[in-house]
Symmetry: C2
Subunit: 379 residues, 2 copies
């Protein structure tokens, strides 16, 4: 693994200050699982926070010594000499509260009851996550991030940072995003949630006590998700109408390769992902809509932001199409904010933000070189 940050070790930080969520619920105390790569400089000015989307975690780059196949989800983006260069930047990945990769979430034991939170876990929002991330930054002594960066739901967090903590973020890197979900986006989330909540093994979210997991529901949720991550063309390119056994078998088991792929993805996902976390994260997506508090005026919602912005979208992304990124760019330009926008001609759909597209990676690299130069100038 050339240019890898190498073997990494996740860390846990405990927080005793209650997190008052937007819903009114309070998380009395919680742990956050995080990883860091690179070195925080003496001025503590070179920190970059990388926010995760639906299925990812704090494990953003590098690998685990005990299992080198567990490579970080954005390892092609982050490392020594990579677009987000860990020779220059101190990079932080954090699993959000409500997650299922080590931070306190629905599967964690609620100290008050001695049982898993389950259905009692607060319905967390992007705003709550950003607040929790800010507290982690406090504890790490980071007053201001050189950048907050994310793709998809992660990008919404980067946007929210610019709104909620303008003085604490120099650059907001917003990739494959939307300023709010469309009705169709919500609809897909809703079907996934219904698949989970109507699974007889869900038990109203408190399945932990029954020693079962709503595997069927999670599996369907993931299959639906996968369809929306890929473009129609990318799916056709990857699978076409290829038949697994070379012939049609006139049954409802796997005939087409695409069926095999979806089932495999669903099966894998249901082994490791928490059903309640899936509900929480899709709901956070649904609810994110900073313009709602400003009569739908996104420019007004973004008015507090003083960060510089890098916004990128992908032509074949039908989940968060380029039009949706342009809404963000338009609002930022209306505010006379500094914004670089790239619409990348890529065939892969929403997943493109995670893939090796040379032009895309070169643009992010160039942007971060400027961020690094700005840091140097400040010193």
């Amino acid at each position: 693994m050339s240019n890898s940050v190498g073997a990494v070790t996740p860390q846990t930080m405990h927080f005793d200050t209650p997190l008052a969520c937007r819903s009114g619920a309070v998380l009395d105390a919680y742990d956050l699982m995080y990883e860091t790569y690179g070195t925080l400089n003496a001025e503590k000015s070179n920190a970059v926070l990388v926010c995760h989307a639906l299925n990812a975690s704090h494990h953003v780059a590098g690998f685990y010594a005990e299992d080198p196949r567990k490579v970080g989800w954005w390892d092609n983006m982050i490392g020594p000499g990579k677009p987000l260069d860990t020779d220059k930047f101190f990079v932080i990945g954090v699993n959000n509260p409500g997650g299922c990769f080590g931070s306190t979430g629905p599967a964690s034991i609620n100290p008050k009851t001695g049982k898993a939170y389950g259905s009692s876990f607060p319905v967390v929002t992007v705003e709550d996550w950003v607040e929790a991330q800010a507290r982690l930054a406090d504890r790490l002594g980071i007053a201001r991030f050189a950048a907050v960066m994310g793709g998809s739901l992660g990008a919404m967090q980067a946007l929210q940072w610019a709104i909620a903590f303008p003085e604490r973020i120099a650059n907001s890197i917003v990739i494959a995003a939307a300023p709010k979900l469309s009705a169709q986006n919500i609809a897909f989330n809703e079907v996934a949630r219904q698949a989970i909540t109507t699974d007889p093994d869900f038990h109203g979210g408190d399945f932990y006590a029954y020693n079962v997991i709503p595997r069927r529901g999670l599996r369907l949720a993931r299959m639906i998700g996968h369809i929306t991550y890929l473009s129609d063309d990318a799916m056709m390119e990857k699978f076409g109408r290829s038949l697994r056994s070379g012939a049609i078998n006139f049954h409802f088991d796997v005939d087409f390769e695409v069926e095999s792929y979806l089932r495999h993805q669903g099966d894998k996902f249901s082994e490791y992902f928490d059903a309640n976390t899936y509900l929480l994260i899709t709901r956070a997506l649904d609810y994110f809509d900073p313009a709602a508090a400003c009569d739908g005026d996104l420019a007004r919602a973004l008015a507090p932001a003083t960060a510089k912005f890098f916004v990128a979208s992908f032509t074949s992304d039908w989940r968060f199409a380029p039009e949706r990124s342009r809404e963000i760019v338009k609002a930022l330009l209306d505010n006379r904010a500094s914004v670089c926008y790239a619409e990348i001609n890529a065939p892969h759909g929403h997943d493109a933000f995670l893939l090796d597209d040379e032009r895309y990676l070169a643009l992010v690299r160039a942007y971060f070189e400027n961020v690094a130069n700005d840091l140097g100038a400040q010193v």
Copy 2:
């Protein structure tokens, strides 16, 4: 209901000649449920067969005297003075074998066992349906249809008619179609099927004996379907991010109107649709690919056709996009077939083929006026 064909009565016809299916399975005997509107002329030359898609039936036009709200699914298209004018044409709607609206299907009693067919019902294909429809035509004394017409999966039957029985079809009316499903199309079908088959109440397709139905699975299947029938814009126009109670409630019950809509559609569907029929019909969609037998050469597959074609697509249809209809048109033009093609600028998505779009209905009307004139000229 102006211009309605009025109160109609479905009829049943029994067939004793076994239907040898493409799968190799044989349906020994079966009933077909059908309706007719208008009058068959003395020459028996004015018959039009209307083929149904996933969720529809033989009840194409008019209403039932005992329940006038049960209006035919294409009543805006078919009736006296309507685009397909029952003052001129004798129109037939038929529920295909494997259906759940009166024709022999998985819920029917297999006379050999005295139990519901369930999982033993043959995996029927578009080719099998067209064969069954041809036998119905034989019994009605119709040697040649003035037209065979359908939208979506119904249009695939209209295409197959032109290939399988070129001498028996003067015009093929192919609306909102594709010559075969894409990987994404198959993927959506597969998720729906997995929702049904993994429902604990499915019992391998033989749920009838248990006095349960896989309601959860059917509900999810329908919700997924509905998303693909509407365009993103149409959904945004219809529901936007409207909140049912005017505010976000931080739960997983209905917050957004689109959630309420989908759940309602799913609930309704699960009350009346048979789960095995859903599997069969989606599989028939997956398998339809007339070009497959000709090394993928659609023009060669369509070469036997002597019918004239009317092909229409809708700009916002992302299930079967206009590009897919153009593949059909291109193949027909390569064969120097007679083809009218209309690409209709409509915002509604795939569902547009069922809706009142003036330009669309005017084009179908004009086409059928020509068909009627041709009939007159023959007489």
